[in-house]
Structure formats: structure tokens, C-alpha cells
């Protein structure tokens, strides 16, 4: 097997940045033909950016790509395909209302005298399907296929481009064990035909089943490439997280008191199950896990935004009925959502109007809005949260991300919550504002507020939480106290089955 595998594809020194973020920092990668390279890293490590460069969606700022020793320029997705690179996205790109042959040959249908030569198209498709071991009529509408089958169709499509390198982005996340097994059989088959595969995954077990090499990325850099047969889970995780945590966290101790919120037996249709947790007055409870683990879903269910299948919520020991957000707010809960533009702010309204939105009842006077009081509160928050704005009448859509986030926090502080849930509170925000938000969280905790913080940034979770709950694919995998938590053991709970 080793003899087939020579490096035919190389990325050298790729750099790519976006406003405020260096996504790839001099990344190099070698891919051998007929081999499987697993690409791992936390969310935000740069895997997806790197793959988008290989598939022509993004352009590198510096760096070179070589195929068979010759420098190439991947200028567009089409160019990438012509160079023999195919990518199969996690969300798949199937045309659901068309049949298999139409999906495979979309945009390059076989022609005969100007009309589509359907016979030839289906013949060719049949051969491709045989290669991937999919025994289905080529006239079948793709919308009726299972996810696994849709994936095989995409692999068949990749093969029709004579792909030499197939990139698969988390291909097993929606597959059953049996389907995964089948996929791996196909991958091994492809390997034997000299095709190289880059396999992005969070499931370490799979790496040892199928990969030859493992490349680990972290914070936009390629940390190390290991041979799968010569490494283990611990070493991989160590490399994924090993970073110096600079102490930018302003966490001050707060008195942690009685349990304020308790959630028992929460589940939702088809996803969350057996969710149990509690949070105390003055405590900051961190919710860690990979993206898609279900953390936001838990909080949305607790706050009444989404329906839950089962589950009881207790506040101060009493069971409460929370069927919608009005109930949740009435019971003293606040929720700073993940996506401030879609879920928290009314961008065409000004700061004052956004801040009063969840607490309008407090400004009600005979049905009218007490606009003087409203203005006073807005000015108060602008000062205490240090929101940078010419006035309280500034339209929120014109503020920077950090200041917008402060407006959202101000809005939820206005209802004087006893329980405050924050979902990725410092995402996309500059360092200075992050610090200010951490200080605010500490202050609130000191005042006795129970705080739940969902975060994908391990340093943040470790820096701010008194206790950490780790989720994995819809369930809670474990709980760690502040003094026993580390990046490694959080990651282990988040990733391993």
C-alpha cells in the first residue's frame, strides 16, 4: 500500500485573512495519491477555509499549490474541478427534484444534435454508480434517497470529473453505522484506484479506522501531520488544543448560593435527549461542546423559543410552566442569542427602542410609552456598558459588532433577569470589548444572577466558568468543575463516544 502513495498534491505557505481575522497563517499540506488524510481541528481552526481554497471558492493571499510538481492556479470552482479536485459538502448539494443522472451531469449534459442525449447520460451514470456500489435505478429522484445514498451520488459525480482528490466535509455526521461502513468500503476502493481523499471529521474513532495520515490545525496554523498508525487520541487532542491561555479573563469570585434553575429530563424531537443540569445564584455555568452538539438547542428549549418534547423546569425549587418567551421572561430569564442580527436586534430601530424592547411593559403609562423614561434607561446603559455611539438615537444597524452586542446585553439587563443565558457572547468581537463583557458577567454573578454561557472558545470557557457542562450530539457527556477542567478533558468529552 505504501508504494502507491506518493505526494502528488501540495499546498505551500497558504495565507488567507478576512476583516479582523487571520484564517490561515502559512499553512502547508502534502497529499499522497491513493491515501486518506484526516483533517482535524476545532471550529475556527481553518479547515473549512483551507478546503474552500482548494475547491476554488476562496483565493489565497500568499502561497502556492502544486499538482504533480507543477504550480497551478485554482481560480474558481470550475478550475478546481478541471484540475481533478472535487468537494462533497456536509450539507450536500443535491438537486432534489431531479433524478440521479441529471444530478451527476448537471451543467454538462451529454448532447446529441443539440438535445440532451438521455440514453447516454443514464448509461454513463450507471457505470459510475457501479463504481460506488450504489445499486439504484438512475431515473430515481434524488429527493427520495437517504442521506447516505445522496452522498454516494455526490461521490459518483466527483468520479465523473476524474477526480484525483476528493474532499469530504464531515461525511459521516448524518450516517448510521452501517452506512458509514459502506462509505468506508467505497473510500478504500477509491484508494486502490489511486484517488486521494481528504476527510474532515470530529470523530476520532473513524480516523483510526480509515485514515492513513492525520493533519491537525489550530488557530489558522497547521500544527502537525501524524501517521494514523503511530499516534493515538490523546496526542491528537493535545495538538488540537495545546495553546497558552493568556489571562484576559476578568473573573472575580462571587458567592455561589442555592440552586436557582434546574432542568430535568429535557428532550426534543429527534435530537436532544436526557438533558439534566442546574445552575446556582452567582454561578457561571459554561456549556461546551462542538458546534452542532445541541447547546443552543437546549437553551432555546429552556427559554421557550422552541418546543420541547419532555422536560421540567424548576426555578427556586418550584416547577414552572414555560411554553413561550413571554413565560420565560416573566420568570426572570434573559437570553442573549447566538446571532444578534437575526435574533436579537431590530436593525432599523435606534438604541433606545432596542433596549426597551423586552421590557416595554415597564415603560407603559396608560397604554403609551413613557419616552422620557425610555431615553433615561438607554443613556444609562450607554454609559455603564460603554457603548460607543454619538447618541441614544443612533440606528443600531450602524453600530459596530461589539457595540451591537452591548445593546443586546443592555436590552436583557433591562428586564433585571435572575437567570441570564448567553450564547456565544463574544463571537466576532474585538478583544477590548470581550474583556468588558467578561467583567460585566462577573459583576452580574456577584449580584446573584445565575449565568449560563455557551461558548466554542475553550479559553473563554475555562477562564469564566465555575463549572462546565460538555455536550456531544444531543446529550450531556459530562460535567467538570473549574479546578479540574482543562482544554484536553473538555475536548475529550466533546469529541469521543
Amino acid at each position: 500500500m505504501q508504494q502507491n502513495q506518493t505526494v502528488f498534491f501540495s499546498v505551500k505557505d497558504a495565507t488567507k485573512s478576512f476583516p479582523g481575522v487571520l484564517a490561515l497563517n502559512h499553512v502547508s499540506l502534502d497529499v499522497k495519491s491513493g491515501s486518506v488524510l484526516a483533517l482535524v481541528g476545532e471550529n475556527g481552526a481553518g479547515k473549512s477555509t483551507l478546503m474552500k481554497i482548494l475547491s476554488g471558492v476562496y483565493q489565497m493571499e500568499t502561497g502556492e499549490i502544486f499538482i504533480d510538481g507543477e504550480k497551478v492556479n485554482i481560480s474558481s470552482p470550475l478550475a478546481s474541478q478541471h484540475l481533478g479536485i472535487s468537494i462533497i459538502y456536509q450539507e450536500l448539494n443535491s438537486l432534489l427534484n431531479m433524478n440521479i443522472a441529471e444530478n451527476v451531469f448537471i451543467g454538462r449534459e451529454t448532447r446529441k444534435k443539440g438535445l440532451i442525449d438521455k440514453e447516454l447520460m443514464h448509461e454513463k451514470t450507471k457505470i459510475l454508480l457501479q463504481k460506488v456500489g450504489l445499486d439504484i435505478d438512475t431515473w430515481t429522484r434524488v429527493g427520495t434517497l437517504s442521506t447516505a445514498q445522496k452522498q454516494m451520488v455526490e461521490v459518483a459525480k466527483a468520479l465523473s470529473f476524474n477526480a484525483r482528490l476528493i474532499i469530504m466535509d464531515e461525511p459521516t455526521s448524518s450516517l448510521t453505522d452501517t452506512e458509514t461502513h459502506t462509505l468506508f468500503k467505497i473510500i478504500r476502493n477509491l484508494k486502490e484506484h489511486g484517488v486521494a481523499i481528504i476527510f474532515i471529521t470530529h470523530r476520532l474513532k473513524e480516523i483510526f479506522e480509515i485514515a492513513d495520515d492525520v493533519a491537525v490545525m489550530r488557530d489558522g496554523e497547521m500544527v502537525i501531520t501524524l501517521q494514523a498508525s503511530q499516534t493515538n487520541e490523546n496526542e491528537i487532542i493535545s495538538n488540537m488544543v495545546g495553546r497558552d491561555i493568556k489571562n484576559i479573563f476578568a473573573k472575580e469570585t462571587a458567592d455561589i448560593m442555592d440552586v436557582l434553575l434546574e432542568v430535568k429530563n429535557l428532550s426534543t424531537k429527534n435530537f436532544l435527549h436526557d438533558i439534566n443540569f442546574h445552575v446556582r445564584k452567582g454561578e457561571i455555568l459554561g456549556f461546551a461542546g462542538l458546534v452542532g452538539a445541541g447547546r443552543s438547542e437546549v437553551m432555546r428549549a429552556v427559554f421557550g423559543i422552541d418546543k420541547r418534547e419532555t422536560g421540567e423546569i424548576y426555578i427556586n425549587g418550584q416547577m414552572v410552566k414555560i411554553n413561550n418567551t413571554v413565560d420565560a421572561i416573566r420568570h426572570g430569564m434573559g437570553f442573549v442569542p447566538e446571532d444578534r442580527k437575526e435574533q436579537a436586534l431590530i436593525l432599523n430601530m435606534n438604541i433606545t427602542q432596542n433596549i426597551s424592547l423586552a421590557a416595554l411593559e415597564d415603560f407603559r403609562r396608560y397604554g403609551f410609552i413613557d419616552q422620557k423614561k425610555e431615553k433615561k434607561e438607554a443613556v444609562k446603559y450607554i454609559k455603564s456598558l460603554q457603548i460607543k455611539t454619538p447618541s441614544e438615537e443612533q440606528i443600531v444597524g450602524n453600530l459596530s459588532g461589539g457595540n451591537q452586542q452591548k445593546v443586546v446585553i443592555g436590552k436583557w439587563m433591562e428586564i433585571k433577569p435572575n437567570i441570564l443565558i448567553l450564547d456565544e457572547p463574544t463571537r466576532g468581537i474585538d478583544v477590548k470589548t470581550k474583556k468588558e463583557i467578561y467583567m460585566l458577567m462577573s459583576k452580574l454573578a456577584q449580584q446573584g444572577v445565575a449565568i449560563i454561557m455557551i461558548s466554542s472558545e475553550l479559553p473563554e470557557i475555562l477562564g469564566m466558568s465555575d463549572r462546565i457542562v460538555v455536550m456531544h450530539e444531543g446529550t450531556i457527556k459530562g460535567e467538570l468543575l473549574r479546578n479540574e477542567a482543562s482544554q484536553e478533558n473538555i475536548m475529550k468529552l466533546a469529541m469521543l463516544n
Binding site: I305, T325, I329, M349, A358, L360, F368, I415
Partner: protein
Amino acid sequence: MSATSLEIKSTAINFWGKIKKSSSISLIFILSAMFILMYIVSPPFRSISNLLSVTKLFVPIAISGIGVCMVIITGGIDLSLGSVYGLAGVITTLILTKTNTNAFFSVLLGVGAAALFGLFNGVMIVKVNLPPFIATLASMSIARGLCYVITQGYPITGIESQGFLFIGQGAIAGIPAAVWCMVVVAIVFSIFLNKTVTGRRIYAVGGNEEATRISGVNTGRIKLLVYTLCSALAGFAGIITASKLGIGQPTSGTGFELDAIAAVAIGGASLAGGAGTVSGTIMGAAIIGILRNALVLLSVNAYWQQLIIGFVILIAVAADQISKRRK
């Protein structure tokens, strides 16, 4: 001074202030330009009676416009308002002529019936989750059908109630009663939208429904309210017209929703939701009113009138969109 009269005063001042700011400037400009142009070009335009008939023409557009403006602010649409306009007129005149009910209660029942129809629209949209366009397209037919069923196709005549006829034909202090109706509706709803908690929530639902829902506002209830109010106002407008004409016509209001929606769009509302004002709607209605009147006075062929009005609406809305995009 009580809280409410202070509010009224400050609203009146704000009204003028808002007219001065924003895209209303261009509206006033257009309105004035049209007015001056017509004054110069067409002698019949200058007469008081013509001016009065112009205002009577745009009163129903303005009143229905204010109603559908609220729906549009929440990001919805109501295509049934022309049919409800006719239905309310028919119901009111029927009650007036066939029973002993006096004018006041007949009008109340007519508006009530319209409001109920609006509630029906709201339920279809909020509870059954139908897209507003489809739901009100269907109810447009239902309401119009009801008009014919109730009247069997014949207009309702023989209205003797002076109280009723005063609404559309009388005047107070020289100004038509219908215009007073419009002024009252405008002031009430301007205050409602700009100063009350519910008014703020209406704008919030339109600005970002999901964020508003997460912020603890019962967005379903807000939507039910605006559809109910929209139909109620459309019904009221239809009753004013029935009073003006002195009969209840089952065909009354056919195609009217276009004028009302156009008035709102010209007035600066975004059909995507989140923006729209009472003052803008009234100016939009005035522009349409003067335009229709101008085309008649200039003896423009009736077929061409339709074409021209369509173009004017297109240009007005496009100009507004372009100016918004530049901001």
C-alpha cells in the same frame, strides 16, 4: 393638561416635524408641484367645488391606506380590502333600509362586520400559517362573493336616514364630514403607532419578527390586531363612499386595494416591512387623488388613465427604493 391631550399636542408637532424630515420632503415637493401645475394648466381645477371633490376622492384611499399601512409595516399584505370596503357598505345600507336600526348603530355593525372579516384573515395567516398574499387573495373573492349573495346583484337603494347621508355628503364648518373622519382617523392612528406600546410592537414585528418574538412579544396577537384594524378601516372607508353615493353597491371598491396599497408605497413604506407612516400614507393618497382628478380634467382618455396611474405608482416606488439604497 392631561396626559392624553399633551400627547395629542406633541403628536401634532411631531407630525409636522416628521413631514419635514426624511423622504416626506420629496412627497411634499411632488404634491405641491402637481397642485401648482394643475392650477396653472386647468381652470376647472381652481374651483372650490373641484378641490372638495378631490379631497372626497382621496379620503377613502387615505383611510384604507392607514389600515393597510399597519399590515404592511408588519411585513404582510391585505388584498381583500377592496372587497371588504364594498361588503361593509352593503351590510350597513342593508341594515339601515331593512331594519329600524339608526345610522350610528348601522355604521357600527358595518365596521364590526368588516373587523370580523379582518380577524378571519388574521386567523388564516397566524394560526393556519397561510402566506398573507394567498390568504387575502382568497378572502378577496369570498368578501366580494358575499356582497353579491347579500344583494343578489342589485344595489341597495332608498336610504332615507339623514344621519347616514351626512357622513358622505354633509359638511362641518365648510369642510366635508368625510374629511373630518379622515383627520380623526389620521390623528388617532398616528398617536397609536408612534406613542403606544402596541404601536411600537407593530413596528418591531415588521423590523425583525424573530427577534421580537424572542424578546417576549406575542407576535401572533399583534398580527391578528393589524389585520382586524385594516379591514375595519377599509370597511369604514367603504361606508363613507356608500353614504356619498347614497346607495349600497355590491361592486363598490373593486380594484380599490391597488390604490390603497399604492398610497402606502408612495408614502414611503417598505413592502418588506418595518417602515411606514400615517403622514406618508395620507400624502400618497393625496397624490393619487390629485392624479386621478387631473387626468379627468385634462380629458385624458379613460383607458390611458389606468396606464398612466400604473406608471406613476411604479416611478414613485422605484424612486423611493433608489433613495433608500443610497442611504
